[in-house]
Amino acid sequence: MVYYATLMAKVTQDATGILPEIMAGYEPVIGLEVHVQLKTATKAFCACSTRFGDPPNSNTCPVCLGLPGALPVLNKRALELGIRAALAIHLNVQETSRFARKNYFYPDLPKGYQISMYELPLATAGWLEIEHDGQTKRIGITRLHLEDDAAKNLHEGFADSAEKSYVDYNRGGTPLAEIVSEPDLRSPAEAYAYLTALKQVLLYTEVSDCNMEEGSLRCDANISVRRRGAEKFGTKAEVKNLNSFRYLQRALEYEIERQITVLESGGKITQETRLWNVAAGRTEPMRSKEFAHDYRYFPEPDLLPVRVSAAWRDEIASAMPELPEAKRRRFVRDFSITPYDAEVLASTRALAGYFEGVVRAGAPAKPAANWIQVELLRQLNDAGKEITESPVPPAELAALVAKVESGAINAATGKKVFARMFETGKPAAEIIAAEGFGQISDTGEIERLCREVIEKNPENAAKYRAGNEGVFKFFVGQVMRASRGQANPQAVNDTLKRLLS
């Protein structure tokens, strides 16, 4: 028996290449609905673990299996994380919000309804700034509300998958925040920038780990096109399944072109839900019969209205970490680095912390910023490591930067030393001493230094030649000083002996 009709779709219109000048006559209008899994240890309404990757159906209980008679109890931590996210994107947290039931049938929905805030969301009316084309743009955010996640239908991977589907309820009941933007985005690139900025804020505030592969960040888009200059929005389509940054951009590009093609050929856009088909690289309508839902929302009688006191909200706000925008501004102001450098360095809290650690350990900010961006990030990238896994701690990078800045070693040598530090995890000084990176062994250079010192000190040279061997140490010292300690001492000895004899 085939349990779940596959999401078959017939492709109505293929986007064909449209002339760029025709494309340019239209303006896309995009709003995003982003679902993020809140980083709680337990589920939204029961005490089951939210751990990813456990054996199927091992993290379940009567509540998240929707067994008859079981009742939900709101996880306070989920609420707290929702409030923190809301505050980070400048939303007004409501004193009273309320869960409702969103009713529909599907095997991944064991209660037959999802518990989701509807009429009274947790927070409303905020914004997020995005950087795009060197411009800062403020994108409105309509609302943030909490809900519980569905389970996972498994249609593949079992011996009898041809006739049966399985359901893994581990994910079912995981807390989600849905963040709905205003239709303020005007291009796929802006949508990309918005999702990037949103993800950054959610990571900064440790609300979610935003792992798109594990499904902890999911994105749907509402999209329409209108003639440039027109005020009225066009008919929108909702595109689902945009579960990577790349798909988001590609799906939006496809959908914009499709809609323009339809309009240009005299057609009308149907208001519908479409699915991004990853393999085919196009959006396809979902079968309307199965998805034209009347969700019959009504207040969830098993839960009391959610009350957030001003005191609690303020407490959460005061524990909020510095957000990306603020950090970028501070880096430019306090460290005199460029806005571009600030953006890179503040892209994650960990990287920003590393940078500040290097500066705190005494390295000047600008070269510290360069070393991190050019050397450290490249090495980390090559090694597939996170900044938190860097083998070179901030203080050691600071020590290396200091040596290069003081001229103790030149930049080229510094890079070699850094590579070894990254490889071995040893401090700069140790590598320089042990591996001779700091030493001048070039006999020509050493000879030049020795001659200089002898020429400047004719009396002492005469004394030595007269048999006073005690002055030899003086010459060695002078040469070493002139080489800033980098000359190979044996070579200096030999050269001086030769030149003074």
Partner: protein, 481 residues
């Protein structure tokens, strides 16, 4: 079913304390009686002897070692089949839950067992607690032990009948619009619908979540109070359970009634009420006056909208609560070619007519375009009815009404007219909508010997006052009026 075999909680305790009987022997005695009478009455749907004897042996061991016994030690208990019991079939009187054995106990059951009670089995009921006669059970109707050609009331008909026939000392029922009080009245036993939030709903298979409550049946008000003292109180697993402190309901029983004002909604006695019922209830009110109560006429102006509001709210919630019975995880599954077909066949075959009727009603009132006209309006009426009660309780200490406008009717007599059946809930649904506690106690019998119930409402969390009045009434011979 002679009175000689009828046990009460204090009698059970005295017999155990004096060694007159062991808990195991007592359980055996009850199972023997169930064996004899259940064939005719159909009060029990499932028995749980393993669990009952294991609990009995624990009690006997405690007695043997001289341990202090918990308050309900050895008390045989029947549990309505809409309440989850670990490992014991829990069907809600429905085909759709055939074969379902829950992996967990309802909080009320856990608390009762912890207090020493012995779960004998699960009692029959109208399917998903939808009905007032127990004729909607997929497993056949229950017969009223007082007159076996009559219905025991519903939906907790099995619990009422089990207690009346001494097939259990106490029973748990559930009440959404009268489903504890009305069968209590029909079977001639005491039956309390506690305040909403007073007893945890965790493990109660929901019909209408904002109205459903668990409450006790017993042959004496004192036993009702003893069970309440155990099951009442905040439960962290039920967000809607109240934190209000739980008084010792038994200790509160003896207080005199002198000076208590009882409100009588005169409209409730005007039309649609059986003359014999009216006469018995009025006799009951006079008895309360004799006991020192002062009668005060009150008005409950929004009562006429109660039935409509109730059937909108309850069915709306039911349409959502019953969505989970889809054949995917437990209970009945009727295979189909597609997912949708499997849903349709499973639910089509699994649910009975009344359940389907209410799911359709509830789906309709929540539908886009109808929500405001029905569900929202129903909620507004509900607030008005709650206000009626609130205002009344500013003037009176309790409200006294009939429990049901009619005495127990014959099986099959009313099944053809669901609306008539709905309208008979009038005295009980008002209290359900308002969230207040109400008890039904016997107030004499009709000429044919059929029990009549007197309902006493108290303000929210005023169970102690309701029990105090009912106890005094019972002790003064209310049942023999």
């Amino acid at each position: 079913m002679s009175a000689a075999t009828a046990w009460t909680i204090p009698e059970v305790r005295a017999a155990l304390d004096t060694g007159k009987i062991s808990a195991r022997e007592l359980v055996k005695e009850f199972y023997a009686r169930i064996e004899r009478h259940n064939g005719e009455l159909n009060a029990y749907l499932a028995l749980s002897p393993d669990r009952a004897y294991a609990q009995a042996d624990r009690i006997d061991a405690a007695i043997a070692s001289g341990d202090a016994l918990p308050p309900l030690a050895g008390v045989p208990l029947a549990v309505k089949d809409v309440i989850s019991t670990h490992g014991i079939p829990t069907t809600c009187g429905s085909r759709i839950l055939e074969g379902y054995r829950p992996p967990y106990d309802a909080t009320a059951v856990t608390r009762l067992e912890h207090a020493g009670a012995i779960v004998l089995g699960k009692t029959n009921c109208d399917e998903f607690a939808m009905g007032s006669s127990n004729e909607n059970s997929a497993y056949g109707p229950v017969r009223n032990p007082v007159a076996t050609d009559r219905v025991p009331g519903g939906s907790s008909g099995g619990s009422g009948a089990a207690v009346a026939a001494n097939l259990a000392v106490v029973a748990l029922g559930t009440d959404t619009g009268g489903s504890i009080r009305q069968p209590g009245s029909f079977c001639g036993v005491a039956a309390l619908n506690p305040s909403y939030g007073r007893v945890s709903r965790y493990g109660l298979l929901a019909y209408a979540s904002s109205l459903d409550r668990i409450g006790p049946f017993a042959r004496t008000v004192r036993d009702v109070a003893a069970v309440m003292s155990v099951i009442a109180g905040r439960d962290p697993l039920d967000s809607t359970s109240a934190a209000a402190p739980v008084p010792n309901y038994v200790a509160a029983l003896g207080r005199p009634l002198t000076g208590l004002r009882i409100g009588i909604p005169d409209d409730y006695f005007a039309e649609g009420i059986d003359p014999e019922v009216r006469q018995k209830v009025e006799g009951g009110i006079r008895l309360l006056e004799k006991l020192g109560c002062r009668r005060v006429s009150i008005r409950m102006p929004n009562t006429e909208y109660a039935i409509a509001a109730y059937y909108i709210i309850a069915t709306a919630e039911a349409s959502s609560n019953l969505a989970r019975y889809d054949g995917v995880r437990y209970g009945l599954r009727v295979p189909g070619g597609t997912l949708i077909e499997m849903y349709q066949k499973t639910r089509g075959r699994g649910f009975g007519t009344e359940v389907k009727r209410r799911i359709v009603l509830g789906t309709y009132v929540l539908s886009a375009g109808y929500y405001d006209a029905y569900y929202l309006k129903g909620q507004k009426v509900r607030s008005l009815i709650a206000r009626d009660f609130h205002e009344a309780f500013e003037k009176v200490d309790a409200i006294v009404t009939p429990t049901s406008p009619v005495p127990p009717f014959r099986l099959g007599e009313r099944t053809s007219n669901p609306l008539q059946m709905y309208l008979a809930d009038i005295y009980t649904v008002t209290g359900s909508l308002a969230g207040v506690p109400g008890i039904s106690v016997p107030t004499g019998k009709t000429a044919e010997g059929l029990p009549v119930g007197l309902q006493i409402y108290g303000p929210a969390f005023g169970e102690d006052r309701v029990l105090q009045l009912a106890h005094a009434f019972e002790q003064a011979g209310g049942a023999e009026l």
